[in-house]
Amino acid sequence: MALTREQLAQRVAQEFKDGYYVNLGIGIPTLAANYVPEGVQVMLQSENGLLGMGQFPLEEEVDADLINAGKQTVTMVTGASIFSSAESFGMIRGGHVDLTVLGAFEVDCQGSIASYMIPGKLIKGMGGAMDLVAGADNIIVTMTHASKTGQSKLLAECTLPLTGKGCIKRVLTDLALLDIEDGKFILRERAPGVTVEEIAKLTEGELVIPDNVPEMAV
C-alpha cells in the first residue's frame, strides 16, 4: 500500500535527530513536526526569519507580525529567535540547518530536483527553495513516486526547469525510501506491502536494488 500523507510525515520524522535544526517545506514536510520521536528535540527554522517555530496560535494569540514561510500565523517556542531574511539565508546557505525537507515535481538520479515551475502553467516563483537545496547537505525530498497516470517522477533526467542541480541525496516517496549515489537510485526501504517490482516499474532512473530491502516501520 502506498503511504498516506501521515505515514510519509511519520517516516520523515524518523530522520530527526536530537538537537537538529530543521527546515520543513510546505505540505507533507510541515506535517512531520507532528511526529517528532520520543526523546528527540528539533527546532524548526522558518526562512522568513524565525528559528523555533511553534504550533498555530490560539484565536486570541493570532499576531499578524508572526507568520511562517507559508504565510500562516504561527507561534514561537521557548528559546526562539528572530532575524532578518539575509541572516536567515546566511544560516541556510552556510549549511547551519541540519536537515531540510521539501516537496518536488521530479527528482533525477543525478540528484537534480525540479519543484518550482511547470512551463506553460502559471509562474509562481521559487521562493526560498533554490537556496534551501543549494545550502543544505542533508535534504530529504518527499513526493509521490509517480503521477496519477503512472508516469515516474524519479527520472534519468529531470524534464522540468531545475530548482537545484546535483544536490539531492535522499528521496522519500509514497512507495519507497531511496538514496542517490553515483548517478543511481539505491532502494533502501519499501512502503509496507509494496513490492520491489512495483517500485522498479515506476522508477525511470537507474535503480539499484540491494539484496535486502526492508519494509518501512510506519
Binding site: G49, E59, I67, R93, M130, D131
Partner: protein, 233 residues
C-alpha cells in the same frame, strides 16, 4: 532636534522625489511587515513605470497588489508571485515583466547593495534557469554563480519602533527583508508604529542604525493576514 531628525509629517513629503520609471525596493514578506501606507501613497501619487524589488507582489487588492490595479509596475523582482490573479493576468499579457530571484539571493543582493559589495558568488541557482547566462566558478568542488548587488532609487520599508534619529527596531517576523532593503535605497523611507524620543532605545538593542534612514513617518496599520491559521484550545 536638528541635523539627525528624520521625521517627516506627511506621506506626501515621505515620497517626495519619487518619479516615474524609478527602481523601488520594498520590505516585507507576503503581507507581513509591508510598508502599507507608503504603498497606498504611491498609488495615490500615480507614479508609473516602476521597477519594484520585493520578495512578493502582494495579493489582489492588498500590498503591492494595489499598484497593479492602475498598472503602475513595469517590472517586479521577486521570489514568489503566487496568490495574485491580477499579477498573472498582466504578466501573461506582457504588460508586466518579472525577474524571479531566489529568496536568499534577493536578500543578499539587497544586503550587498547597501554594503558596497557589487557582486558575490552563491551556489543558489547553479544549473537552473536562474543561473543561465551567469558566470560560474568552482570552489572546493562545488559550483557557484555570480550575482550582482541591487540598489534602489527609493526604499519603502516598515519598522515597529524608531527614535527620531531613525534608529529602528522591528517586531517578530515583520523584520524579514526590511533591514537590508533600507540599506540598499538611495532614499530610504521608513514608516513605523511608534516614534520615541532619542535616548529611549538601548543602543545594544537597535536592529538598524539611523544612518541608513532618510525619512521616517509614523503611521497606522491594518496588518492584513494572508493565512489565518489557528488551533483549538
Amino acid at each position: 532636534m536638528a541635523g539627525f531628525d528624520k521625521v517627516v509629517n506627511s506621506y506626501e513629503e515621505a515620497l517626495d522625489g519619487l518619479e516615474d520609471n524609478m527602481t523601488v525596493i520594498a520590505g516585507g514578506f507576503g503581507l507581513c511587515g509591508i510598508p502599507e501606507n507608503l504603498i497606498k501613497e504611491i498609488k495615490r501619487k500615480g507614479t508609473t513605470g516602476l521597477t519594484i524589488a520585493s520578495n512578493n507582489a502582494g495579493v489582489d487588492g492588498k500590498g503591492l497588489g494595489l499598484l497593479l490595479e492602475e498598472k503602475q509596475i513595469k517590472k517586479m523582482i521577486a521570489s514568489y508571485v503566487g496568490e495574485n490573479a491580477l499579477f498573472m493576468e498582466q504578466l501573461l499579457s506582457g504588460e508586466l515583466e518579472v525577474e524571479l530571484t531566489p529568496q536568499g539571493t534577493l536578500a543578499e543582493k539587497m544586503r550587498a547593495g547597501g554594503a558596497g559589495i557589487p557582486a558575490f558568488f552563491t551556489a543558489t541557482g547553479y544549473g537552473t534557469p536562474v543561473g543561465e547566462d551567469k558566470e560560474v566558478r568552482e570552489y572546493n568542488g562545488r559550483h557557484y554563480i555570480l550575482e550582482e548587488a541591487l540598489q534602489g532609487d527609493f526604499t519603502i520599508a516598515k519598522a515597529w519602533k524608531a527614535d527620531r534619529f531613525g534608529n529602528l527596531m522591528f517586531r517578530k517576523t515583520a523584520r524579514n527583508f526590511n533591514p537590508m532593503a533600507i540599506t540598499a535605497g538611495k532614499i530610504a523611507v521608513v514608516e513605523v508604529e511608534e516614534i520615541v524620543e532619542v535616548g529611549t532605545l538601548d543602543p545594544d538593542e537597535i536592529h538598524l542604525p539611523g544612518i541608513y534612514v532618510n525619512r521616517l513617518i509614523q503611521g497606522t496599520f491594518v496588518k492584513d493576514i494572508e493565512q489565518r491559521t489557528v488551533r483549538q484550545a
